[in-house]
Subunit: 404 residues, 2 copies
Amino acid sequence: MVNIAVLGYGTVGSGVVEVINTNHDTVNSNAGVEINIKYVLDLRDFPGDPVEKILVHDYESILNDDSVDIVVEVMGGLEPAFTFVSKALSKGKSVCSSNKELVANKGPELLKIARDNNANFLFEASCGGGIPIIRPLNSSLTADDIMEISGILNGTTNYILTKMSDEGWDFEKALKKAQECGYAERNPEADIEGYDACRKIAILSSIAYGKTLNYEDIYTEGIKEITTDDIDYAKKLGYAIKLVASSERSGKDIYAKVCPMMVGRDNPLFFVNDVFNGIFVKGNMLGDAMFYGSGAGKLPTASAVVGDVVEAAKNIGKTIPVRWGEGKLELSERGSEEGRFFVRAKGAGEAKKAEINKLFGQVEFVNAGKDLETAFVTERMTEKDFEASYERLEDKITRIVIKS
Amino acid sequence: MVNIAVLGYGTVGSGVVEVINTNHDTVNSNAGVEINIKYVLDLRDFPGDPVEKILVHDYESILNDDSVDIVVEVMGGLEPAFTFVSKALSKGKSVCSSNKELVANKGPELLKIARDNNANFLFEASCGGGIPIIRPLNSSLTADDIMEISGILNGTTNYILTKMSDEGWDFEKALKKAQECGYAERNPEADIEGYDACRKIAILSSIAYGKTLNYEDIYTEGIKEITTDDIDYAKKLGYAIKLVASSERSGKDIYAKVCPMMVGRDNPLFFVNDVFNGIFVKGNMLGDAMFYGSGAGKLPTASAVVGDVVEAAKNIGKTIPVRWGEGKLELSERGSEEGRFFVRAKGAGEAKKAEINKLFGQVEFVNAGKDLETAFVTERMTEKDFEASYERLEDKITRIVIKS
């Protein structure tokens, strides 16, 4: 029997209990051992709830119980999660966490404590909810140099952009609906400003490239500025607008960014709609692959956490190798990255087109039936050159990166 | 250092050598040990080829070399592959195979020999080429009862159906193009009759449900009968026609089949086009997930094989647990499965519609501008009831399952 303790009895924590109870035969058979929930830690009481009898308020009782092999951290936030997790690992207990904040900030440190104590720090649920992506990167795509990871990693913003496109809703209405459906928090800033996706691509990139990518180094732009006009242009061009979190190698350079991008049909992310997430991976041998599924939600997220518990139970006393090694991943200077860009500016007619051609060289003009404005797509150029020209463009409205 | 021997220097075998040589730093770092190709076995000689020095024609020299830890079997076919693989496993050497014929026919037997000798029999590349699906099923989706696996598992037929839909080519022309592009064999029967997809879904189902699904038990129908008229109707209905290999639980029943299906936009397989493969998995907790990528090709397939080599190298002397257990998976009687069906018949007008309504009850008639025929979609009914009515329908042309 393997005893586990669940820290936090919120949405994901109660999901973990539900998954283990509902699927106990499958979970135990896959683990090769019985998984027993010995403790649930929460500050609150849950009178009448089945976990009432195993509920504790004091972490020390879990930490000092040597029969607890695995700690499930689903509290979220940096503290006290970090203190709890590092103490558990130091005692040789494995930890399974869904906490992207914790992993993005303290991943390498916690992985090291795990290694030093023959334990495991696993965090499949921190990126892409229920989608298996972290274990596949660590254990399946091991023959490849990863050239790119690009993900639709935030379900709320993908729901908003999908509804703006399919229903013609504006951003405010789509956000309101997302909140009514329970997808978006009352304070949705972390989602719509791209901060959530940014932490997730930092984690995935650190695994893929083997060194820590600091999320604060990643250029991040949200979707608040996207309008239905932008979406009309995207459709005209055969693109969808998605919030893409991306990191990419180009020769010796590595670039990373989070921003709205126009994505074409030749990229499988084009087809990732509503609250679903998708993670595109390009390997130098594998070519293109994508992992698709529910990026959030109580049971999908809990499914990933319990998958980690099974893996930890199969590897008691033995650290599973991970790609995320020591050192810091240095991103290349942002402006040197090449791409194509979609631009809108006020003003129409030949004079406007002449101004644009003078600034950007040859471009593809796009007509989506909007009066008194001109829109176009540039040829391939460095971001630095593009931004310099865009800066000088009169009456500019907006610009959006075209996903290559 | 871990020594490996590659059996077969054909497309995949030379790909394996190329992946290990090109990505040696990454491969060795992920394996935590240097992977050394000590032998390549082939009946042919390759004068001037870099493998010339390590080429052997006699398997016994590999088998009897105790320094060989891992054997890569990429010869294909049942014999001598089965003899070679079982002998290697019996000696405690792990085997990584891309051979779906071998796995579908001898999987449980070889897994048992591996277990009995503390070795591993790994076969990620046998299904879905480079797409990680077997290890995710064994090591990631372990918290779920798998309710369904449905895959587009054959790139050749998917290319043909995509071109018939996008370019309006008929089956013969699309097949010819597939052969010209090197996707289809000169004898394409295994692909277009669905035999290839059938073996792959048998393997995936055996892992997902934990018992051996004999591929001979799976109802299998190919795509030769699909016409551009069928595709016109599918488009009219908002569907795409795909060769889907599927197994599904419904209560205590398990059904499996391989046949052309009409797939809607709400299923991510809808978007899997050209030679790409996609594998849809539904878990009772996870919900819907999909794994997408290159289902064939030298380097993607070799990437999966080398990923297995890395995993085997990390687990020398220790058998990695798999879900595929003892026993035979009994499928439920085919006719009891429920679904909706698309049907075309010659004849038009009210009398024809009356005949159809009398046989099938309420249906949705479909008009795709074809003269002198009537097409419709049934309500949900058992396959047995459907087949009984279809049998009695006058001047029937064809019927296609609608993917639920």
